[in-house]
């Protein structure tokens, strides 16, 4: 027990040192930016840890849930585009209704013709008829909506609510979709489930990318509202300026020239405002992180968590003991996905823009898995640490490898083509580092940096 506490403290200490180093060497703004993304990554990896570490569900569809969270920010916070609703809203609602109707009909056909050998033919026909009908209403509405001021809107917009709501809604979106996926796919063998979730996440992203009426697609949604003040407003507000001058009073008082002092103060205010905004995010994110950590830990060591572990470690005997394995798996799949959805919404909120084309499985699925494995599956603190270490490495890999390349090739001429080639390839060394880190951890520390705590109670 003592040993484990030491490794937790040591990890914490090392991470703090690293952030301080980045602060001193690169910049404080950079350091906090990385820290914020580390927290978001940590929440994502906690979500996956809930699925994998608690219950052994291998979900490779993280990207999809992240994207749904992002969509939630748009749909919650963006002001509704009334013109678009007027021209196409009715058609879209009819299409949605028809879509639901088709699904219901297929569902019942599946029941009614359970043993009919033409079952699949009948169902396929129903789907085709449904699609044709939907298209009849859907295509013209889409065209109409996308025609409304395409340069800045061309979509239905959102509800115009405060963006913080979207964090909850993002979680709900992800949970809802996870429920449907789980109902369908959780009975599959773990390696099949993995491939199924990978596929579904690609479908989700494809929808976000190509349904312009919903998310503006590859045209992106920019200028999302913020839960924190804007830099411009801060720079203009009285209290902030006096706050900054108070912070730097010692430095400012040394400058005797009034104009000079004003110039320095202006500069400090500008720098201070960006850092202030980032710290505001940091505080919000930390609250969410601690809240989820608290709940996750509480759940893990509750009877529910013990039961999940029992199922994970021996599905057959848990089944025999009358535990409803499928139902438990569904619960845990939904909860974990919701956490990922929340993190996805937080990320888009921080960025202030939603770019569906930036969702790539490498970054949003496989990288998160590296975090979970490195941190230690089954341990929430481990997942957080994994999120921090891996995101930090992911960002700092480029400057560090550039630095190393400069050292190793210092004997070479400035225009040496090999050196230039290496310098050009700097962004890709992070892949190499991730791969090596993952393999080393799997090999020599298969339980992660902070292994699961086995409590016998």
């Amino acid at each position: 027990m003592i040993n484990k506490n030491i490794s937790e403290l040591l990890s914490l200490f090392i991470m703090i040192t690293l952030f301080l180093l980045v602060g001193f060497i690169q910049s404080w703004s950079m350091s906090i930016t990385i820290l914020n993304m580390c927290i978001i990554s940590a929440i994502m990896s906690m979500g996956i840890n809930i699925q994998w570490g608690y219950a052994g569900i291998f979900n490779v569809g993280i990207m999809g849930f992240t994207g749904l969270g992002g969509l939630a920010t748009v749909l919650v916070s963006y002001s509704p585009v009334h013109e678009a609703w007027r021209v196409g809203g009715f058609g879209m609602i009819i299409s949605l209704f028809l879509l639901i109707l088709t699904v219901v009909i297929v569902f019942f056909l599946n029941r009614i013709y359970k043993n009919n050998k033409y079952k699949y033919l009948i169902i396929s026909l129903a789907i085709i008829v449904g699609l044709v009908l939907i298209n009849y209403f859907y295509r013209p509405s889409v065209l109409a909506i996308e025609d409304v001021n395409p340069a800045i809107s061309g979509f239905l917009g959102g509800l115009g609510l405060p963006i913080l709501f979207s964090w909850i809604v993002g979680g709900l979106f992800a949970a809802g979709v996870a429920f449907i996926i789980g109902k369908i796919a959780l009975g599959l063998r773990s390696d099949y489930l993995a491939i199924a979730t990978l596929g579904i996440s690609e479908v989700i992203i494809a929808v976000l990318k190509h349904e312009d009426w919903l998310s503006r697609g590859v045209k992106n949604v920019i200028g999302l509202k913020r839960p924190v003040p804007y830099e411009i407003d801060l720079q203009a507000s009285e209290w902030f300026i006096s706050f900054i001058s108070y912070l730097h009073s010692a430095k400012l008082s040394k400058i005797s020239e009034v104009l000079e002092r004003q110039k320095v103060l202006d500069q400090l205010v500008i720098e201070g405002s960006t850092i202030f905004v980032k710290i505001s995010y940091l505080i919000l994110f930390t609250i969410v992180l601690l809240f989820i950590l608290y709940l996750a830990n509480k759940a893990q060591f509750s009877p529910w968590g013990r039961m999940m572990r029992a199922i994970r470690d021996n599905e057959i005997s848990a089944n025999a003991m009358g535990k409803n394995v499928v139902k438990r798996h569904l619960q845990v799949f939904v909860i974990g996905s919701a956490v990922v959805g929340i993190a996805g919404a937080m990320m888009v909120t921080q960025n202030g823009l939603f770019t569906p084309s930036s969702y790539l499985p490498l970054r949003y699925t496989f990288l998160i898995w590296v975090m979970v494995i490195v941190g230690g599956s089954g341990n929430n603190l481990g997942s957080i640490l994994g999120g921090f270490i891996v995101w930090f490495t992911w960002i700092e890999a480029a400057p560090v490898s550039l630095y190393l390349i400069e050292i190793f090739t210092s004997g070479l001429d400035e225009n040496n083509s090999f050196k230039l080639h290496l310098v050009d390839s700097v962004p890709y060394f992070r892949f190499l580092i991730m791969g090596v880190v993952l393999l080393l951890v799997l090999r020599y520390r298969p339980k992660g940096v902070l292994p699961e705590k086995v409590r016998h109670s």
């Binding site: 773990s190 791969g435 799997l442």
Partner: protein, 337 residues
Amino acid sequence: MTDFLNAIILLLNFIVVPAFSYGSQLALGALGVSFIYAILRFANYAHGDLMSFGAMFAILFTWLFQSYGINFGILPTALLALPFSIIICVFFCLITDRFVFRYYRIKKSSPVTLAMVSLGVMFIIQAIVRVVIGPADRKFFDGQKFIIKAKKFKEITGLNEGLALKSTQVITILVTVILVSLLFWFLQKTRTGKSMRAFSDNEDLALLSGINPDRVVFITWIVVGTLASVAGTLYGLDKSFKPFTYLNLVLPIFASAIVGGIGSPVGAVVGGYVIAFSEIMITYAYKKFFIYLLPSSLEPSGLVQLLSTDYKFAVSYSILVIVLLVRPSGIFKGRTL
């Protein structure tokens, strides 16, 4: 009658020929995935990138040959380069097995652990490919581009619609036929091939029968490396080489393997064509086709397209999910070579 012929040619040109060549590429990829699944018993997420690794060396050797002024006449130089890229790809597979996968095989780790290990390998291959050749889109096709040009076809037949036959399409299909036949001959007729089937069928009994597992694994990687290298190069020749697209290929490849019945070589090949045909058929706009066939009063107003081409990839995922739900063992019940 001409209208009917035109309609047929239209389908041939836009569906059948492209689907056959794309299907062949998927089939070769799916065969590789299936082999690993049948013998080493895990889902190899690195397979798409292994294909890009092989294709990359085909390109590098093509450039090398071109710099010496060597070419293959009307055929692409890449075909000359292919044997060399196969050797390197196989060698790479064997090294990865020795230093990475073997450890987990001896420990008898779970398939999920091995799948995660393959993620690590995937990251490393991506880094190697991007550092060596860069992330850019590259065309390395040379030689004669078309066997029949659409225009020429129209002139000869006098039809409205042309049938273009790219040489890469024909090469892809021919190479696939040759390679797949060789592979099936190997599995069905040779002692080593049969021993691999036996190993995938019943590992314990294979060991009791004196089949050497190390040798089976060794040959598996040779087969997998060859298939990956050929599939990657053919795909790159036909479309273009861009490292990123190969990661995206993993899904249709898995879809092919699973639809056919993972572990079954026949299934992998059939699955490849099923996926390719569905992707193309479901996203093709049939408007022109119906204009030829139907009287003008019934001419369709829309594109007559079930799903927009944006969802081309989504089609294969949907088929994959449906197959997993309806018949998880695939068309040809899997698990044995």
